[in-house]
Amino acid sequence: MRELKSVSSRVAVLDRADVDTDQIIPKQFLKRIERSGYGEFLFFDWMKDPAFELNRPEYEDAQILIAGRNFGCGSSREHAAWALEDYGFRVVLAPSFGDIFRSNAVKSGLAPIELSEVALTELKAAVSAVNELTVDLEAQEISHPAGLRVPFELDPYARETLIGGLDDIARTLKREDKIAAYEARALSG
């Protein structure tokens, strides 16, 4: 998994609530057994509409996505996070996320950052004037060239995973003695 310390980029805004993972990556693309190559199918049906937000030329090459409430709700398909990451996004800013999507995103090198509606409104206003943001995971701060700074919180373990591009399984295997002890207890109980 790629490391993610800080990203400075254009921002795409998808101002819709309850965007489900069926929209992010429709079912016909879940038949593949590979982990990469989903970016070209991102929002497959919505992309057919020339007026769809992500078709705007000014959003090209954006690595930061501002989304609406409950982004990534629905199906557990990690393909949704893979598609966003493969398309080029490294960060999603939203008022809230679907629980499974949030966890899948972290494991795919895509930072799901929760912000208040107030903070998001400020950020949207700022990027509509100058479309650039820096999201710094180490400093836990978002900054705009005009001077706006917005702090954020991220679960410490998730933050370490993202910043280091870490393999969670290797981290858990360091706790092997605890797992073995639990299994021994469970067997004797």
Partner: protein, 450 residues
């Protein structure tokens, strides 16, 4: 000291380590769609499956429901990959044609694998179904599937707890599906985000295990990863004699309930005394109204978009909405009791000439049982198609899909845009309501059907 919740009891019993919490997983269910990359990850890292004995696989999402070989080459490859992975890593597979295959959330309980007090995961958001047995069960992504395969544990942040208490007596002809759709309408699609839900109250206690599974199944549609119900005699009786279940009810199963003085982070009361069969009108499960209601006026841009997608005008009576297709199936509503309820409505009637209707049993065993009871003939004589087990048109990964613009009364769990086929329009209902709609050619209150 305040009492503890059912959730807390299971959580504490499975805590391997703290900071961050590491949870032991008692059972992982695997299917073909969300597992290939996980097994590949194990191979690339030179890892093995820690507990193949706690891992069970089946084929469900991709399988065709018509007899004959699978024609879709990509689906075929995915199914074959599962077969090879199970062989390589020593995992029991309930393959298509084995007689024990079916939708993962139907066969787990059916085989007695799902048991009270367990932690259960699967790469599928409807894993919450298994919570009906008093288990902590939740959906995970593929990287977490790999994590459980390798370590039999998961790093989890602890969710908050929500009690959904159903009060009042459920009126005649109103079902578990209507209860859960009503609850989601009240909680909202994001209301359960960050919570594990416990469902309780007299209306829950009176439900069969099938009904309880329908309720827990749809927890994720309110945003909650897990939903559970305390086990009781109904639970123990259901499990008795099932292949993987213990011969006698273990004493500790009786302790699996929230203490009377346990506190929850949020409590929601749902009064079912005047509940009417529910029909969704929009593109998420919280966009729901009673069958005697009308399509509501939009209250948000999302509502406006949903109305446009569903091609519905505000104020239209639900009973005037004509349908093209009926789907009775899915992990929500394809168990034997669901098929019995639908067959009871269909018996002696014909499917409307404008409607194409199909029944897809949840498992090979459900199909066999239904055929023993003659339900298949009730359906086929009425003009329904009688199919083989699988996820089918709930998500349309197999050939069973809606054509663009087609409107479907579906017993499944999601009415998202394009869920059952690009451009398709899904209305979620109970099996009895879907059967009634098939006959009438439009939505109708099943209780008024003569």
């Amino acid at each position: 000291m305040a009492g503890t919740t059912l959730f807390e009891k299971i959580w504490q019993a499975h805590l391997v380590d703290d900071d961050p919490p590491l949870l032991y997983i008692d059972l992982q269910l695997v299917h073909e769609v969300t597992s290939p990359q996980a097994f590949e990850g194990l191979r690339l890292a030179g890892r093995t499956v820690r507990r193949p004995d706690l891992t069970i696989a089946t084929m469900d999402h991709n399988v065709p429901t018509e007899p004959g070989p699978i024609r879709d080459e990509i689906s075929k490859r995915q199914l074959e990959t599962l077969r090879e992975n199970c062989k390589e890593f020593g995992i029991t597979l309930h393959a298509t044609g084995s007689g024990s295959e079916g939708i993962v959330h139907v066969i787990g309980p059916e085989l007695g694998l799902t048991q009270p007090g367990m932690t259960i995961v699967c790469g599928d958001s409807h894993t919450s179904t298994h919570g009906a047995f008093g288990a902590l069960a939740f959906g995970i992504g593929t990287t977490e599937v790999e994590h459980v395969l390798a370590t039999q544990t998961l790093v989890q942040s602890k969710p908050k707890t929500m009690l959904v208490r159903f009060v009042g007596t459920l009126p005649f002809g109103v079902t578990a599906k209507d209860m859960v759709l009503g609850a989601i309408g009240q909680i909202g699609v994001a209301g359960g985000v960050g919570y594990a839900i416990e469902y309780a109250g007299p209306a829950i206690e009176q439900l069969s295990m099938e009904g309880r599974m329908t309720i827990c199944n749809m927890s994720i549609e309110a945003g909650a990863r897990a939903g559970m119900i305390a086990p009781d005699e109904t639970t123990f009786e259901y499990l008795m004699g099932r292949p993987a279940a213990p011969m006698e009810t273990p004493a500790e199963w009786h302790e699996l309930r929230s203490d009377p003085d346990a506190t929850f982070d949020r409590v929601v009361e749902v009064d079912v005394s005047h509940l009417v069969p529910q029909v969704t009108w929009g593109t998420n499960p919280a966009m729901v109204v009673p069958v005697d209601g009308v399509v509501p006026a939009p209250a948000s841009p999302e509502d406006e978009r949903a109305l446009e997608y569903m091609d519905l005008a505000p104020g239209t009576p639900i009973k005037e909405i004509a349908i093209d297709r009926v789907f009775i199936g899915s992990c929500t509503n394809a168990r034997i009791e669901d098929l019995r309820a639908a067959a009871a409505v269909v018996n002696g009637h014909k499917v409307a000439s404008t409607v194409r209707a199909m029944v897809v049993p949840g498992s090979a065993k459900v199909k066999l049982q239904a055929e023993k009871e003659g339900l298949d003939r009730v359906f086929t004589q009425a003009g329904f198609e009688w199919r083989q087990a699988g996820c089918s048109m709930c998500l349309g990964m197999n050939p069973d899909i809606l054509a663009p613009g087609e409107r479907c009364a579906s017993t499944s769990n999601r009415n998202f845009e394009g869920r059952q086929g690009a451009g398709g329009r899904t209305h979620l209902v109970s099996p009895a309501m879907a059967a009634a709609a098939a006959i009438a050619g439009r939505f109708t209150d099943v209780r008024e059907l003569g």
